[in-house]
């Protein structure tokens, strides 16, 4: 007589509470609580509400400067990055020189230099008056020139991460270096670069605060102007902090969502 070996059915162990607690995004809860507390303050306290409304006037400028600068920095960074990995000694060295130049100088100093020295110098060269270019435009030019160099490094890393074999495969099919770059390497590289580009976008959003030194009326500058007459330092700077924190949080969650989608889509 054979014994019927009934195999015990093994269930995966249920995830216990501990595992759920470990994985819960507590950090998000804490940040949201802080934001929530501030929002309540703004709703119930007229002083907070006034300051909030004042700073709100600078928001469109912050967003506008961020968006325009990022788009142009992407384009400029792409070309710089391609120059960086170019076979041409001249192009490569020009790109490296530029990138090292930018990376070797503090951003605040670069903003001054570009806005008050480089742009007026170029304006004069083209026969324009010194004040032909608005301060906001100068701020955007400065951010594009600075962030182009950072983004170029992202492109370079993205391109170099694609194996040499892909370029060889494209070339062996008779495609030129440029065609292979455009149709084979860059589409793959861009996908890998999304997280790094997202970080640069968030960094750029924060760094727009630096152009307040030019008098561009974005949220930091508006706050400073407001404080200089109201002397409400605590309320103003807490709310300003809240603005940046909310924006970077929204942006970072948005980017995570886009990355997840890009991964599924591929």
């Amino acid at each position: 007589m054979t014994v019927d070996h009934e195999r015990p059915e093994i269930q995966p162990r249920p995830r216990d509470l501990r595992a759920h607690l470990d994985e819960f995004p507590w950090w998000l809860l804490i940040i949201l609580s802080v934001i929530g507390y501030m929002v309540v303050q703004i709703i119930v306290d007229p002083i907070y509400r006034n300051i909030f409304n004042t700073i709100l006037q600078g928001l469109s400028t912050t967003l506008y400067v961020t968006a325009i600068s990022f788009v142009f920095a992407l384009i400029f960074g792409l070309f710089l990055g391609l120059g960086r990995v170019s076979n041409s000694v001249i192009l490569r060295n020009l790109s490296i020189t530029y990138i090292e130049f930018i990376r070797g100088v503090p951003m605040l100093v670069l903003i001054f230099t570009i806005s008050y020295a480089v742009v007026p110098l170029l304006a004069r060269t083209f026969g324009l008056p010194n004040n032909a270019i608005s301060l906001t435009s100068r701020a955007i030019i400065a951010l594009v020139l600075i962030y182009g160099a950072y983004i170029a490094e992202v492109f370079r890393a993205g391109i170099e991460a694609i194996g040499r074999g892909q370029m060889e495969a494209g070339r062996s099919l008779g495609m030129s270096r440029w065609q292979t770059m455009l149709y084979v390497i860059l589409p793959q590289a861009t996908r890998n670069m999304l997280p790094a580009l997202g970080n640069d976008l968030i960094a750029l959003l924060k760094d727009t605060s630096l152009v307040s030194v030019l008098g561009v009326r974005e949220i930091t500058q508006v706050s400073r102007l407001s404080v200089s007459t109201s002397f409400r330092y605590e309320e103003t700077y807490f709310i300003l902090t809240l603005f940046y924190l909310s924006m970077t949080l929204i942006l970072s969650l948005l980017l995570q969502w886009i990355q997840r989608r890009a991964k599924i889509k591929r």
Binding site: S172, G174, Q188
Partner: protein
């Protein structure tokens, strides 16, 4: 091979290649006739892949000259593109484009290099997928295919350019054993159609069934060459014998 007055399809003359001080190729000379299937065997580091890659200028020789179908392979971009248009290449690691579907992999260069319309290139691509036995995989992405299927797509991609010569760089060495045959069968069919082929591989079955000539390389030189029976049956050089005794049992 019967000596003819016709120029060979590939002529390699005294080609040398260095990596630093390492001599990868040492004055190699070799002719490949139209319709010939040449197999190159040898231990790793013997220069066989380097020699293959010199033919379509993926490696640039330090000395010597290579003429492919009457075109001198030098640094002139026009010459390089003309040669690459006639020479298809299959890589060990397939090198399919992972962001494109199988059919788009086969169509890309047709459209960008041969300037074929989308419809025309797709018709050609489908015919080639039929030929390599995987017509049903057209809309999939490379990572969804097995290694053997990927390599067959890579062969179809190269064939879509209607090359006169096909180069195979260890086409089966990255494959699981059960997938090797399906790739070799496609190569065998190509050989029987009269394609000029240079194959770097240790597949002895393929050598016996399809190769007209086997060249044994060691330390950057062609040590000996001849019909497969002769090279595998009665190798003349010690190094050939030693190498063969290691890969044949």
């Amino acid at each position: 091979m019967v000596a003819t007055s016709v120029d060979p399809m590939i002529r390699i003359e005294n080609v040398s290649k260095f990596y630093g001080h390492f001599r990868a190729l040492d004055q190699v000379s070799l002719d490949v006739q139209a319709g010939e299937v040449l197999m190159i065997v040898g231990p790793s580091g013997s220069g066989k892949s380097t020699l293959l890659r010199c033919i379509n200028h993926l490696e640039v020789p330090d000395a010597g000259r290579i003429v492919v179908d009457g075109i001198l392979v030098d640094n002139d971009e026009k010459h390089i593109n003309a040669v690459r248009a006639e020479v298809g290449m299959v890589f060990q690691r397939f090198e399919l484009f992972p962001h494109l579907t199988v059919i788009d992999n086969i169509c890309l260069a047709q459209q960008k290099v041969r300037r074929r319309s989308r419809a025309e290139s797709q018709t050609i691509a489908r015919a080639l997928l039929e030929k390599v036995g995987i017509p049903e995989q057209a809309q999939k992405y490379p990572e969804q295919l097995s290694g053997g299927q990927q390599q067959r797509v890579a062969i179809a991609r190269a064939l879509a350019m209607q090359p006169k010569i096909m180069l195979f760089d260890e086409p089966t060495s990255a494959l699981d054993p059960e997938m090797i045959k399906e790739v070799l069968d496609v190569m065998l069919a190509l050989a029987h159609e009269g394609m000029t082929m240079v194959v770097v591989s240790h597949e002895m079955g393929f050598a016996r069934n399809a190769a007209h000539r086997v060249a044994f390389m060691d330390q950057g030189r062609i040590v000996e060459q001849g019909p497969p029976d002769k090279i595998f049956g009665t190798p003349q050089h010690d190094r050939t014998q030693l190498f063969l005794s290691r890969i044949l049992h």
